[in-house]
Amino acid sequence: MSVRTQQRPKVSSDEPDVVKVGRTIAAGARLRPIAMSLLAIAIVIVVWELYKVVGPEDGGEYFGMRLLPRADDVSMPHIWSIFERYWQPDVDVAGGSTVAVAVLQGMAFSLGVAGLGWLIGVVVGLGLAILMQRFRTAESGLLPYVVLSQTVPLVALAPLVVGWGGQLKFFGRPWEPWMSVAMISAYLAFFPVAVGVLRGLQSPAATQVELMRAYAASWWKTLVRLRLPASVPYLLPSLRLAAAAAIIGAIVAEISTGTKGGIGRLIIDYAQAATGDPPKPYTAILGAAVLGLVASALVGFIELALRRYRPVEARG
């Protein structure tokens, strides 16, 4: 017995300092994306204002073509005048609520619709990925269509969906335009999830798959214990891509179907006021951009919840 203890290779359970230092660095690394986004925004503002100083007032025309945009206050209002505009009343709306309120309401509406689309897209994408992993024939049969689905131009698709939706009843209630917008959102969102998760489900090493077979684990148990956890590192970027796609899908679908209430419609409405009220269109465009950031942040919470499954460097 004593011989055995002596031979046992010496290993200490004390957490090495390297690990602790590593954790501190990791905490710092989590703040870095926020700092980088702030820096990116600052650069845009600086470049915008700088161009207003040095750029030609009525645009640069060379070789008979306009190559540089106009730098006058109608085409490029000052950043501060855009922000000022938020606190002034939206003249189109009775009751005199400010532009900020209108933009926020539009953002909330679009976020809700895009969120629903995203959820449907994620569920459909996951389902398709699992189906394609389970049956190889499903993979070879479905994957081309999954890829093909994304080459159909969105603008062509939107009126079709509205047309089909108009003939549908949804649990006894009429099909509403926003449901069409959510469908188009879902249509764009499912793709990155289906493709990403399929790769993730196929990612476990041969040894791990053989091990599950040696344990006589059913397909379902292998999915739950091995394939799904292994696909999390592939799922997270897919969710982010899907969120961006859902937002873009919702905004474009709102515009091309003429759905009222969302930020997409607001962009069009405000653009028509551009000549008399130059900063106004930018308030809506900015709102749409912030919406993308909000969606990305929400996905960030999911990543935080699933951090246990983060990829780790394989060693040994």
């Binding site: 290779p9 040894t207 344990y215 040994g316």
Partner: protein, 278 residues
Amino acid sequence: MTTAATADRAATAAPAVSVRQVSKTFSGRKGQAVTALQDVDLEVAPGEFVSLIGPSGCGKSTLLRVIANLLEPTAGSVEVFGKAADQARRDQDYGIAFQQAGLLPWRTVSANIELPLELHGVGKAKRRARALELLEMVGLADFADHRPDQLSGGMQQRVAIARSLAESPQLLLMDEPFGALDEMTREYMQVELVRICRETGAAVVFVTHSIPESVYLSDRVVVMSPRPGRITEVIDIGLGDRTESLREADTFFTRVTEVREALRGPHAAAQALGVEAR
């Protein structure tokens, strides 16, 4: 495990492994077939330790996978404890360890060892107790709640071996489990494996590339040759108790030479015999 006990059990029970006339052909992408195994016969008694040794690509892993029912043989039959191989797999009659540890990185070390127990409905407390017991055995008791990526390659491999023992199988199938270990850890693990087999009475089919390792561990060494993969020789070792001094004993080196010559093939063996006769 004494020889008498082994013989006793062998007489009463079905063999741990019985491979009869097994062939395995892989059909390649472009239609050309690879004969990985041809007409292989192998019987392993309960409690017996058998090593498979041979040049790379001679079908050692394939034979092990056929026994484990991870591959279907093209021809022939495989029985484990008198049952068809797929039945034995479903009954969890064997534990298995591969050259790659294959730990799940999102589970703790303990949860990795608990995985087979969890899959077969063993209660939480019981699972945990068994995992701790096994970790104690492989010298990693302090690492139960670490993540696999916090362990060295050798430590991961020891976790994989502990996992293969989780359900106290009477048959262990091991494919170069010590391949990634350094020499010191390797010898330590050999001693441990011999002790575990003595305590549990488990039979072992052990794939290795190391001649001294096969001689030190085994009751019998099975020598294989490639293209097509077949068994060319079976060498009885019969060295008795595995002590540390055995590694330096003359009988040990005689067996090592015997296995080495068997690996070189019949031609070389005849030459060597000729030299000896002179």
